[in-house]
């Protein structure tokens, strides 16, 4: 363990009050979006050290490098893979499988988005699927809104299904040691069910009215999906590495391999496969581009947050909060799990779910003794994962992927407005949380 400075008073406040105040102010600044969130988190982390709540050594210990490594490794792999054109291929192929029928396309694009969001990450998925969606709806001369709405839901539901699908799951998996398979067996079945249920309101509101001119449908059928593959060699290398990485996630846990090791090894292997046939100068350019594609803002945001939350944790504030929560729920595990799910969902719809989950993890860890061991916390972890991932569907600001899709919609002349989206999305999100609550209750209690 690290050595704490353990100052008694910081700027006239006790360490717990200082860390708590810094935490609240940081949260508020993140919500206002006046300053980039990575800058805010890094500043807060630095203040935790400058004020003496943490030493620099302790701050480094607070960073979850498994989360950071997994995110960075997957970003490199996805960044290289997307250049092959495989995302566009999948989107066009799926549209053609259903003979370019407008409702069929919506269902297929939703499934593709959910599938890719589960296996890769949902931001990259919507970044690549949304433009194709708009091309197709533009060609068919139909309103893109239902398609983009469905893709937002699919990306967040798909991301819920696996350990690597959404940042909250990555953090939960890393903090608890729950494996890729644990997530797959416990969260994927309910995610598939929720995805199918989500199709019902989408069909009733828009799906049954979707039609297109047969001539325009024929235009979509004339797209040659094979031509979307820009680099077949890169595609083969990417699919090979992705398969190995997935296998590593599934089997690695039993051999003590953490997901970050698997993802980083996959990234290095793919870079090596890509660079081996190239001259040294060209290799530098390829590696530089691949590393530049990593979303460093997100990575530094995570690092700052980990230090901030660790600072709060070391003052004993989160333990105090955990006891307060247990007091409110009467120490009942079922009520605690379901309350955490609902609160996570509502909070994630309003604020960024990353800082929320980063705070909730140590808070839940502090409940371990009260519930009689870490095994007893497992249903609570699933509740947190379901609530925080699905909650992202509750509003337009609930997840990064939502905002990206909204940006595309804006440029296509069919803007997704905050309130109309929320009026429909929030109740739909609550239904998905209700289904999850029933699932968790029936399966774990």
């Amino acid at each position: 363990m690290h050595e704490l400075h353990n100052p008694e008073v910081i700027f006239g406040l006790s360490p717990a009050w200082f860390a708590g105040s810094l935490f609240v102010i940081t949260y508020l600044l993140i919500v206002t979006e006046r300053l980039n969130r990575a800058i805010i988190a890094m500043m807060a982390a630095a203040l935790m050290i400058v004020s003496g709540v943490l030493t620099q050594e302790a701050a480094v210990q607070g960073v979850d490098f498994n989360t950071i490594g997994l995110l960075t490794g997957m970003m490199i792999i996805v960044g290289i893979t997307r250049d092959s054109g495989v995302f566009q291929y999948l989107a066009i192929r799926s549209a053609k499988i259903v003979k370019a029928d407008p409702w069929g396309i919506l269902v297929m694009l939703m499934l593709v988005t959910a599938f890719l969001s589960a296996l890769l990450d949902n931001v990259t998925t919507v970044l690549l699927i949304a433009p194709i969606t708009l091309l197709i709806t533009d060609t068919l001369k139909i309103n893109p809104y239902p398609y983009l709405f469905a893709e937002i839901f699919a990306s967040n539901i798909g991301g819920t299904a696996t350990l690597i699908g959404d940042p909250p799951n990555i953090m939960i998996g890393s903090a608890t040691g729950l494996s890729y398979n644990d997530f797959l067996f416990n969260l994927a079945p309910i995610s598939v069910f929720i995805l199918l249920v989500t199709l019902i309101p989408i069909y009733l509101i828009w799906g049954r009215h979707l039609t297109a001119d047969p001539k325009l449908i024929n235009k979509v059928m004339l797209y040659r999906e094979n031509d979307a593959i820009k680099d077949p060699v890169l595609l083969k290398k990417s699919l090979f590495v992705l398969s190995l990485v997935m296998l590593g996630f599934i089997l690695g846990h039993d051999y003590g391999l953490m997901p970050a090791t698997v993802a980083m090894f996959g990234a290095a292997l793919l870079l090596a496969l890509q660079c081996l046939p190239l001259k040294t100068e060209k290799q530098s350019a390829v590696v530089t581009k691949s590393l530049a594609d990593v979303e460093w803002l997100t990575i530094f945001f995570f690092i700052g947050l980990f230090i901030l939350v660790y600072g709060v944790e070391t003052t004993g504030l989160l333990e105090l909060l955990a006891n307060q929560v247990l007091g409110l729920t009467g120490g009942d595990k079922t009520i605690t799990a379901l309350s955490i799910m609902v609160v996570s969902a509502v909070a994630s719809a309003i604020v960024d779910n990353i800082p929320f989950v980063a705070t909730m993890i140590p808070l839940i860890e502090n409940m371990e003794t009260s519930f009689g061991g870490s095994e007893q916390l497992v249903p609570i972890w699933w509740s947190l994962a379901l609530g925080s991932c699905l909650g992202g569907n509750g509003s337009l600001v609930g997840a990064s992927a939502n905002l990206i899709v909204a940006g595309f919609a804006e440029r296509s002349g069919q803007p997704i407005r905050f309130l109309p989206f929320m009026l429909l999305a929030f109740p739909m999100m609550l239904v998905s949380v209700l289904i999850s609550a029933i699932y968790v209750y029936l399966r774990y209690f």
């Binding site: 291929y89 040659r224 979307a228």
Partner: protein, 155 residues
């Protein structure tokens, strides 16, 4: 040497309310890559060019949504024209680029050439203290003068 000494003082122009079809025909007939758009008072407003036409015949998803992989779309001239037809009666102003900034007549020649190199299009010259268009400078205006200087030396 200054910009005023190499500019064409009688450039062809289009008005902001001319239709895209009309302006397109004009640049195709004269093989221009771009033309300055000026209002009734001769004030420079922007450039209308071949890029605008390309932007409107290529599927919207490419420029509006960053679809950089379009190898799977195979279209006929008729289909491209159909897309052009949707905007052909719109005014030039909706399609005018305002990214090309005018230079003043006193701009030194080297700086003018650097601007030409960077914009890759003809550049407008306006009065120093107003937007009034005085002329246009193309690669050809400058290139011709450079070559002529060489001919003088050799003669």
């Amino acid at each position: 040497m200054k910009a005023s000494e190499v500019m064409d003082t009688h450039p062809l122009t289009v008005k902001p309310d001319d239709t895209i079809a009309c302006a397109a025909e004009f640049i195709m007939e004269n093989r221009y890559r771009s033309l300055p758009v000026v209002d009734d008072n001769g004030c420079y407003l922007g450039m209308f060019g071949i890029n605008c036409l390309l932007k409107h015949v290529i599927p919207k998803a490419v420029f509006a949504h960053g679809l950089n992989n379009v190898g799977f779309i195979h279209e006929s001239f008729q289909e491209l024209f159909d897309r052009f037809e949707e905007v052909k009666d719109e005014p030039v102003s909706i399609c005018m680029s305002q990214e090309i900034h005018a230079i003043s007549p006193d701009t030194p020649l080297t700086e003018t050439m650097l601007q030409l190199y960077e914009t890759r299009l003809s550049i407008p010259v306006t009065e120093s203290d107003s937007c009034k268009l005085l002329g246009m400078i193309s690669y050809f205006d400058v290139g011709e003068k450079i070559l002529r200087a060489g001919n003088h030396k050799n003669a």
